[in-house]
Symmetry: C2
Amino acid sequence: MKTQDCGALRAAHDSTATTLSGWVSRRRDHGGIIFIDLRDRSGYVQIVLNPEHTAERLRSEWCVEVTGTVRLRPEGSENPALPTGEVEVMVEGLTVLNPSLTPPFYITDDVDADESLRLRYRYLDLRRPKMQDNLRLRHQTVKYIRDYLDGHGFLEIETPILIKSTPEGARDYLVPSRTHPGNFYALPQSPQQLKQLLMVSGVERYFQIARCFRDEDLRADRQPEFTQLDLEMSFVEEEDVLGLIEGLYAGLVRELTPQFKIKTPFQRLPYADAMARFGSDKPDLRYGLEMADVSDLAAETEFRVFRGILDRGGIIKAMAVPGKGGLTGADMRRMEDTAKEFGAAGMSHVRLTGDGALDSLTDDDALLSPGLRMPVEWVRRLAERAEAQRGDLILLMAGPARLANQWLAAMRSHLAAQMELADPAMLSFAFVTDFPLFQWDDATERWDSAHHPFTAPAPGCEAMLDGEDLASIPSRAYDLVCNGSELASGSIRIHQRELQEKIFSILGYSAEQISERFGHILEAFDYGAPPHGGIAPGIDRLVAMLAGADSLREVIAFPKTQSGSDLLFGAPSGVDAGQLRDLAIRIVE
Amino acid sequence: MKTQDCGALRAAHDSTATTLSGWVSRRRDHGGIIFIDLRDRSGYVQIVLNPEHTAERLRSEWCVEVTGTVRLRPEGSENPALPTGEVEVMVEGLTVLNPSLTPPFYITDDVDADESLRLRYRYLDLRRPKMQDNLRLRHQTVKYIRDYLDGHGFLEIETPILIKSTPEGARDYLVPSRTHPGNFYALPQSPQQLKQLLMVSGVERYFQIARCFRDEDLRADRQPEFTQLDLEMSFVEEEDVLGLIEGLYAGLVRELTPQFKIKTPFQRLPYADAMARFGSDKPDLRYGLEMADVSDLAAETEFRVFRGILDRGGIIKAMAVPGKGGLTGADMRRMEDTAKEFGAAGMSHVRLTGDGALDSLTDDDALLSPGLRMPVEWVRRLAERAEAQRGDLILLMAGPARLANQWLAAMRSHLAAQMELADPAMLSFAFVTDFPLFQWDDATERWDSAHHPFTAPAPGCEAMLDGEDLASIPSRAYDLVCNGSELASGSIRIHQRELQEKIFSILGYSAEQISERFGHILEAFDYGAPPHGGIAPGIDRLVAMLAGADSLREVIAFPKTQSGSDLLFGAPSGVDAGQLRDLAIRIVE
């Protein structure tokens, strides 16, 4: 029903016969002659119909087959914006394959339809060229990943979707078993244990483009089901995994989206440095705005806010904002309001005005927050620490270390966006390494894994597991970050039963819970489990980044809303009483 | 931790240094020198240790790293059965990476451990070279499929696993929604509706290696979750799909498993012919044993069995078995017992003895079943119809058409196996086409779709939908079969709302059910849905066939038992009361 794709016709096809199939996009009527932009997945071409082809009936989104002859457009009527703009097709035969109702929104890239309407009619929304491009880019991205890993000796192995529930981390989706009444399968949050068992199986190099499921309260841009590249290797150390992943991402961007600039090798940034310099473990490295801990300088002041924070074990961090020393007091109050929106109790600052070296700074050139009264000499030392020049602004954030970092990092992102510091054409990849093994969870009053409980402590630090200072134990976990987003997370794993059991017990699991939830993997470690490690890059976010999409929903064919609804099919939905009877469950009203 | 794979070492590596990591397989002790077959996923190599390497401690399945020097084995001690058999590695350094308990079964291909033990310790079972080969073949098969379809302009698109329950065909697996209490998602039995919606979306060429789920009572070789290549194309007719699939399978076998013989082009066999000649819609075409309807000849006899069957609308079918005319009466009674095991009430026969042309046949040369008394002239006509020669056996099966075919087809398979007629090195692919649209279901007393309700009737037959003779309506469905198995099933689909609604109503759905279950796809058809069709080849069975495996479980990394249990993880299992409370469901005791 088609000999060619609409978008493939060029001047070279002049005077050749063609059969096309596609959808009526735009139509124009010029003195009885009808011009239609015919669209298929390859693009558009103009077709020209005489009234005898009943073209007057054709409406938007009708599906048609046309036979005709390609010809050069009359001089002056070419459309250089269209790849097929030099030609048109003189239609000789027309078949309506299927008419269409009037669509609820226009099928164009600048559609401003409400997203819920777009999701309700997703099959029309996906007809938009941008959405077709996104689907194609996703296909190409995943294809590139598979080819690359195949070339590096990896086997793709499918792991089950119906597995055992081992609640840990997020909530499991459950699936009642009909054949084992009262029992349930769970959908995997990730194939973590399965891939480790594949290493025990001697597979050595495994990957999978894996569907994962988390029954969480969905934040703005999360989906209940999502896709990750799940990858695991035996007989490796950190750099083996990072080198492989760097080659993958660098090659992928250069091949598929060469419009982006990247720098290799990717920076390796220890977690402690990332927190110190950027207040975040996923910093956007496209711009500076680095931070410095100035608690010692702050301790010299009489400023009550600083003293109070320092007395309670908090920190004071400074961040220089180049060229913003000339902001007014009103500007600064607005900026402080922004900091408060991010959760900060307040924010102090120093504005350095004038030109020239810091040495020439006078008291008049340094405008300090109300309450912060310090001699110019102190300001000069502060400026040196914060690497600020005259003409710059220095922000000072006080608080418990975790929160001061979080608030100041939020200010960093906010100001970078406002000042347009980030080059949108740059993808600034980096590996954040040496994460801590544990973090204290104030809510549950327990130690939690910073990555997950299968992560190995740094070599030689095993003895610290018996000590008090668990927060200081370094782990073998690493993240891949880019432009302020975490793209992948991984670690070298534990492969010895005793060590793994100790970690579980530090995390507060009872012996019974350990055996019930993790007995199978602990037992597997008893049979010559090899040293191994891996990583799990998210696919949805990667494709969204490469596509320049605002939301993951733009790169998923049939996404769900924030409340987990499928607006097209109307899922989830009620089911027949018979189905529930079969499963031996009842709904609690 | 390894510079080379064990299985990669050759004579060319003589005198080079190597670092290997792997598992201790076999060990032999020759006068204090210890020889170990070290195994990794690539194969085995012999390593030689002196006692100072504490080799006396090493036991089966310990995971070790060794450094050493490759050398040629002493003359006379080479092992030609092993690819690395010309060399051995003189070990200089040994690190035990992880010791192992004694495995519950030997890690060799001739393991005779009980399958449930193998599944319980799947991570050890997968260490066997044959299982590693199966995993590799599966990876290569799926890779080949993806590359082929990418090369043919297909996009791989992921469709959701959490969808709406539209019970139709098998039972759905359900997933309770926490955010919409009392509502459920279902796991897809196949992405049928989703892929059709992708055609409405203008994708034109879609595929996916898709996980599918059916909550059925599992037959011998079914899995609750299985993998299919799901594929759909727009603007196509039957031959477009079949040609694509033929190229895929032929290329795949020639590239990955050239030990198999195949013939192209694949035979196209109309359903009616397949049933007439082989009594089956998935015949094994590696051998003859064809059938013929001899109801008219049977009607000439006085034999009460035949008369009774014919009076009730049944048929009599004949099948010649070459060279078996000399079987004894006792042999024939045993063969009749076999037919009874397949469900037949009985089976008649004619044995043609002697040599020479049929013309020379005498009454003495034709041995007929007791009760079947007919002159030699009738026997000669029967033999001609059945294409039997002197020296052959003719089996006669009487019954309702469906059952007579089923029983005689079972005898055909049985005899072919017994007589070793099927060349195990031959893959005999064929497309069975022109399936009927409907079949009558005696159990539910309703018309059922022979393929599925989205299958289009043959062009020009739409008017028959308003008639009485629904069983005679031909459809646009087709199967790919090979060596007696169905490998794929597909059809050209309906793309018009009115026709689709008529089919649903013939199938007995009420207007309300149609709207509730299929409203979204019917509505999509209203917006210029293109003509489209597709196919869904099973991946598990294909790989099992290529691997020469008896069971699908041999080519699935973590399969479930027939009762749907995962013996390694212990799924399905009980869950916390809190999990059920979150989901607002309760178990019915």
